[in-house]
């Protein structure tokens, strides 16, 4: 046993020496540095858009040596991200925890009584704005928006729209579609966007409003069909898919992909992470990814980011109020 422990300690020792050595060459060698691995909390389940992006960041940070300690992504997607929000709230002052957010950052605290006020959290950086597309299974007869509306109406309310947790972005977009077209669907919540896409392809739900990155693999394999983009302009990777505006319906919705820290995160740590993400945003890998997945890489930090969060929270409060308090329609 003792021998075993020693071996393990030796292994751990070698690993940490390797990390420290790697960190020393980093451009961030001066000033505050993380003392232990950085926990990257993800507000969503595995395989969804938020998860993929967070894991991509982890890989970029480690490949380019942008942090002196390893980054450990942790999924806490339960209850539309409530699990992650509450976790961050309970980590007050912690300099080694950052959270990857999506729009449920606004909606979940508004809809539940988990005692979280996002104004207390520390904004770090907004990396990108993600887009939404209406999808159906490629074997479906639905080719256009008109087909979609007709099919939903014909189903008498039994058309199944898959999406992330109730009250999260997907359900908001669904509610907007219902209102705009005077239709009624059955909204089926899943743990993450990857799960949703799989259930569209498997035929367990009829449609979804996945982000492009979540459906891209299936789209390329010819298993999912984009019907309409909920963006101001056509999405470059889907040049033949019309936007809602082109079709005469003013529905535009987007999702921020940002990072925040817990309340009272030390200022030096905030500066460290802000700089780290600024460097990430300038890497080739990130530029390629944003282009391939039609993400708008709009970098924003500090007070401007906090102002953006609060403004978006107001907007979402209004959307939720229009939908009914629990967020389901």
């Amino acid at each position: 046993m003792i021998y075993k422990m020693t071996r393990r300690a030796a292994l751990a020792g070698v690993a940490s020496i390797a990390m420290i050595a790697a960190g020393a060459t980093s451009a961030l060698a001066e000033g505050w540095k993380p003392q232990k691995p950085i926990e990257m909390v993800i507000m969503a389940g595995q395989g969804g858009g938020a998860d993929r992006i967070a894991r991509l960041f982890q890989s970029i940070i480690q490949k380019e040596n942008l942090a002196s300690m390893p980054v450990l992504p942790v999924n806490k997607g339960g209850g539309s991200g409530a699990e992650a929000l509450r976790y961050l709230k309970d980590s007050e002052g912690d300099a080694h925890k950052i959270m990857a957010t999506l729009n449920s950052y606004y909606t979940t605290p508004l809809r539940t009584d988990i005692g979280v006020d996002i104004e207390e959290f520390t904004p770090i950086a907004r990396m990108a704005i993600d887009t939404f597309v209406l999808w159906v299974n490629a074997d479906s007869d639905v080719q256009t928006l008109d087909d979609f509306v007709a099919a939903v109406k014909a189903s008498g309310g039994e058309w199944k729209m898959g999406g992330t947790g109730t009250g999260q972005e997907d359900s908001l977009v669904t509610a907007m579609l219902e209102k705009e077209f005077g239709i009624k669907v059955t909204y089926v919540p899943f743990g993450g966007g990857g799960d949703v896409a799989k259930n569209v392809v498997g035929g367990h739900v009829d449609s979804s409003v996945n982000n492009p990155s979540e459906a891209m693999g299936f789209y390329k394999a010819g298993k999912m069909r984009p019907i309409m983009a909920l963006t101001p302009e056509r999405i470059a990777v889907f040049p033949d898919t019309p936007t809602a505006r082109e079709l005469g319906h003013d529905i535009v919705y987007s999702m921020q992909r940002s990072f925040v820290g817990p309340k009272d995160m030390p200022a030096e740590a905030v500066a460290y992470y802000t700089e780290m993400f600024r460097m990430v945003s300038e890497t080739e890998e990130w530029k390629t990814y944003t282009a391939d997945n039609s993400l708008n890489a709009d970098f924003l930090t500090g007070d401007a980011l906090q102002a953006y969060f609060l403004e978006e929270r107001e907007k979402h409060a209004a959307i939720l109020a229009a939908m009914g308090s629990d967020g389901s329609s």
Binding site: M1, A54, N75, G78, G79, T112, T166, G167, V188, H204
Partner: protein, 505 residues
């Protein structure tokens, strides 16, 4: 033929000196990471991820898979020797592995675990090689209704044909299900059963905390009581002959091991499940199909073989949806997915067509990783067994320390340590009252999955409960589940009833 040619190309990649070295290194590191309570393959892979950027992508993923595989083997070691699951996937291995160690058969149990892991790994890699692409379609056929039916089936294998008192088993399952609802509601996000506003309960109760409590601490308390005069941990020795005997014993268990392999691969393949449920289900099925179910939980070697084949098979199985659908089946495969995105590989239906070198290099390395893991593991068994020769008074303190560290490490909250202490005492009392503990752990693992899939099905079918039986796949599972439940009743009626009403003792 086409597959074989591609695989041969793959072997050209995985048998290169660099990759062979990487496999051996990865498997050894994984073995120790897995054996350490609180450190699982997730941590191992996460920590090593940065090192992988200095080698080509195919070598990098081989390293990560080797660690993943090694950790699956390693998890069994502390489950057997100390009764603390080394990794979440090895929970079921404690059920019979620990009693075997107490009877002085630790060496045999470790050999059984290694051989079973090897068989499970090999059968599942073969399945992967031959059927990866068509099987991906099967994973797609699994919607919420099917998931629910499968979980229900897992529960009935524990109740129906098990050796324990049925009423007590049902009580323990219900208790586990109640514990599984603690935390935030999966669908609405509302907090449930948080005991006022205790922050620690928001994250729910981790089943690893429960397992470490009831098996680690509870077991130690029980042993202290029963062995006040003579420490009963028999110092185990192991010789080459024992090794041969062990392998021969395993040779008789093909039925259990192949069942475990297929089940493990299949359950691992479903994005929502993973290796832990797979191991627990394999244990339940091995017990319910055994001629002697009462010997399970008391040191039956099949109780070690079944979960160990299944968890290794499942770890291969969970690579399948990750590679073919881009949906990771376990936390570790999610990390692998991140690495692949970074290397510019897009996991999904096109990967097999666009990147055959990468895919087949990976598959062939699973074969080499498996061979390396079983060889290294068996070579180290004497060392592990030697650890048990220390006096019980020392071992006992060491186990308690490891329980606390193992419980604290994943979440780094004292909350979990207190829970472990509480569950330890509860586990001790339940054991004295002869309540089975395995169903409790099973219910906590599968409860959230069961609840979520049940609610999703009812939502999507407008509350039509018949949906579960109307769909062919889920209908079949439910029919088998009902059969498992009814069969003992029939047996009981045939026997004439009255006699078996007496208490189980």
């Amino acid at each position: 033929m086409d597959t074989l040619a591609l695989l041969a190309d793959g072997f050209a990649t995985s048998l290169s000196p660099l990759n062979l070295m990487i496999v051996i290194l990865g498997v050894t590191a994984g073995l120790f990471i897995g054996a350490m309570p609180g450190l699982g393959s997730v941590n191992g892979v996460a920590i090593v991820l940065p090192l992988t950027f200095i080698v080509p992508p195919s070598s990098a993923i081989i390293l990560l898979c080797a660690i993943y595989y090694g950790a699956m083997y390693g998890g069994a070691i502390s489950s057997i020797l100390l009764g603390i699951p080394g990794a979440s996937t090895a929970v079921a291995t404690t059920f019979d592995g620990r009693p075997m160690a107490q009877q002085g058969k630790a060496g045999l149990a470790l050999i059984a675990a290694a051989v079973a892991s090897f068989v499970g790994g090999t059968i599942s890699v073969l399945l992967f090689t031959l059927f990866a692409v068509p099987l991906a379609d099967l994973a797609l056929a699994f919607g919420p209704a099917e998931e629910f039916a499968l979980v229900l089936l897992a529960f009935t294998t524990f109740v129906g044909l098990g050796g324990d008192d049925k009423l007590k088993t049902v009580i323990m399952i219900c208790l586990g299900l109640v514990l599984s609802t603690v935390g935030l509601d999966l669908i609405s996000g509302q907090p449930r059963l948080i005991f006022g506003d205790l922050p620690g309960f928001y994250a729910g109760i981790s089943f690893l905390v429960l397992a470490i409590g009831v098996y680690g601490i509870g077991e130690i308390l029980y042993t202290i009581e029963t062995s006040r005069t003579a420490p009963q941990v028999t110092p185990a020795k192991i010789t080459l002959r024992d090794l041969g005997d062990g392998v021969r014993t395993m040779n008789k268990m093909w039925r259990t091991m192949s069942l475990g392999s297929f089940l493990g691969f299949f359950v691992g393949m479903l994005p929502a499940a993973g290796a832990t449920p797979a191991a627990l289900m394999a244990y339940g099925i091995a017990r319910s199909t055994s001629k002697n179910p009462k010997s399970f939980g008391k040191g039956n070697i099949e109780g070690v073989a079944a979960p160990e084949t299944a968890n290794n098979a499942a770890s291969t199985g969970s690579l399948l949806p990750m590679l073919t659908l881009g949906i990771p089946g376990s936390p570790t495969t999610a990390l692998l997915l991140g690495g692949m995105v970074m290397w510019g590989l897009m996991p999904g239906p096109m990967l097999f067509i666009e990147q055959p070198d990468f895919v087949w290099g990976l598959i062939s390395s699973l074969y080499t990783a498996n061979f390396a893991a079983v060889a290294i593991n068996i070579a180290l068994i004497p060392l592990f067994v030697w650890a048990l020769r220390m006096p019980f008074t020392v071992l006992c303190a060491l186990v308690i320390v490891l329980c606390i560290v193992g419980g604290f490490a994943p979440s780094q909250k004292m909350h979990d340590v207190w829970l472990i202490a509480g569950f330890g005492v509860a586990g001790y009392l339940l054991r004295k009252a002869d309540y089975p503990l395995a169903p409790l752990v099973l219910a906590l693992v599968l409860g959230p999955l069961m609840e979520k899939s049940f609610r999703q099905t009812l939502i999507s079918e407008q509350g039509n409960i018949l949906a579960f039986v109307e769909r062919p796949l889920s209908g079949t599972f439910i029919a088998i589940a009902v059969l498992f439940f009814v069969l003992p009743l029939v047996k009981y009626l045939r026997k004439g009833g009255a006699r078996s009403i007496a208490p189980a003792e």
